[in-house]
Amino acid sequence: MKKLTVCRGLAGGLRKLALGLLIAGVLAPGFGLSVFAQGYEANYDESYYSKFRDQGIEINVYNWGEYLSDGEDGLMDINAEFEKLTGIHVNYTQYETNEAMYAKLKSGANSYDVIFPSDYMISRLIEEGMVQPIDFDNVPNMKYIDPTLLNPTYDPEQLYSIPYAYNRVCIIYNRDMVDYEVDSWDVLWDEDLAGQILMFKNSRDAFGVALMKLGYSINTEDPQQIQEAADLLKEQKPLVQAYVMDQVFDKMQGNEAAVAAYYVGDYYIMKEVNDSLEMFIPQPTELFMDAACIPSDAQNKEAAEMYLNFLNEPNVAAENMEYIMYSSPNTGAVALLDEEISGNTDLYAPPEVLANTEVFIHLSEETNLLLDELWTDILSDDASYLNWVMPVFVILAIVVIGASLILRSKKKKNAKY
């Protein structure tokens, strides 16, 4: 999920490095960059992409924040490139969490043509009929997707989604602030680090960490286990400095916090800015997969499929992944990426390591409600004995307001005479 904030520093750095290797350091970096900014070799099928040219078609794309290369650091501005190639205008907006995206979609305020939900959200959307099957004849570049990542549990028949990026959850810590080698989830409950711990701001990830610490499945439906996890999170709350998503970048890079649970790819981006940061990937850990889907009420399905195909052009996907720094499911893109990135086993782990991960799946409605309730309970103060306050207030307020209105109108009447 998320983001890649600021600094595409690492991507930029690696790019320069790659360039250096490429031209054996002969050219000045400035010149080199401008050569390199042309990117990887493009090989677009012009006749395919010109289908909608000059028809004034627009598509609404809804993506995670900073989850698509936008032309910074000499990387491709993917939406602009797509518009140039196809004449289709892209309206691009961003969301912060799967749940926020779901709320917007569910409200029906707008129809979107392309969204990028994560695993468990995809199965929820499929279940609720909110996404539609993709016509893969229109997405020839589907052939590049790593076959081992196809037919996942969230979309067993591979009808609705095209894998976009995946990554694992890890523990990121500051070696100047944590004076021991981190080797388990326990560091997130270390009382010596009170006030320096950052935790996920979404319920699935936060519960996932607690459940993994307890040795349970992150997809457990056992209320007993979930309650245990909730207790653990409550116990952790006094130690937590803040519940964050993308703000984790600012805080970890700026030595604001000592330890955070986040995603491996993001660690490399932070590391580029703050060299004191270290990472540990617990075993087992959570693996997430974000995939592109087309909502049921999409207005330009075929144009959306063209967009998805474009995202999976190996050169486009490679540029994009340099920007995002997560792992790409697109084998064509991985082949193009520099050894430095594609050989990094934290990002592109061998299958036996990936086997030791768990992917979120959609839970039953009762479990979701229980999670929601417990999560709200954790974030707000646990003072359920106060539950009478609101109803009592409502009754009192109605009485007082009503009485004062009646008094006033009486007064007015009296004043008239």
Binding site: A103, S380, N387, P391, A397, I398, I401, S404
Partner: protein, 270 residues
Amino acid sequence: MRAKAAAYPYMAWTLVFIAIPLGLILYFAFTDIHGGFTFDNMIQAGSYSSVFVKSIWLAAVSTALCLLLGYPIAYLMSRWRGMKSRTLLLLIMLPMWMNFLLRTYAWMTILENNGIINQLLGMIDIGPLPLINTQAAVVLGMIYNYIPFMILPLHSIMVKIGDDVIEAAQDLGAGPREVFSKVVLPLSMPGVKTGIIMVFIPAVSTFVISQMLGGGDNQLIGDIIELQFLGNTYNPNLGSAISMVLMLLVLLCMTVTGFLNDENMEEKLL
């Protein structure tokens, strides 16, 4: 007769864009997803009572502090005349033209562990103090954003207290303390009431300030409403129920301060 017709478009507009939307909140608050009548949303809203209490508490603290801090400023300003007073008024209003999200974001920079305050404290070997992600930070954010709403109504009431009135009191033997407690304070009460309303209502319903300065676990009633519509899920029924409780709270405040049905409200608001 025809002049009245000029208000008809506005009346139609009000019906469609004020009355119907507020009616929809009521409708959603008392129905389930299938449109059947239910009290479930209200009961579920009850489980947010602690958030509700916390919102009122923080907003009340902020309002009190705004009054305490803003009153002297308004008074000073009202005793000055002409250019000086106008310049000060301008200085107080100018920040409101900057986007409030950005100003609040700037506070994050000031308050964080390696922020400006803690760096200064660090120089004299204090801290770092936990400033950000606390309730105090949320209160600070509220005061910062809403104190002009306290000062401006106070000021517009206080300028109407003529110097002659104060001089008369002094001539009659009142000391500074008595001038304040027996003349200025009672005469400024309408401004105080307006100020309290103008600060308390946005403070109790905010969701941005608590999100930015509260660190995610200082959720307020506004956060909970936002979560139901655009945050966690789309549950307009529960969201409407909580909104309705918030609206009742606002109406109650207005009743208590005597705002409701007040004929001269417009003067107070502008």
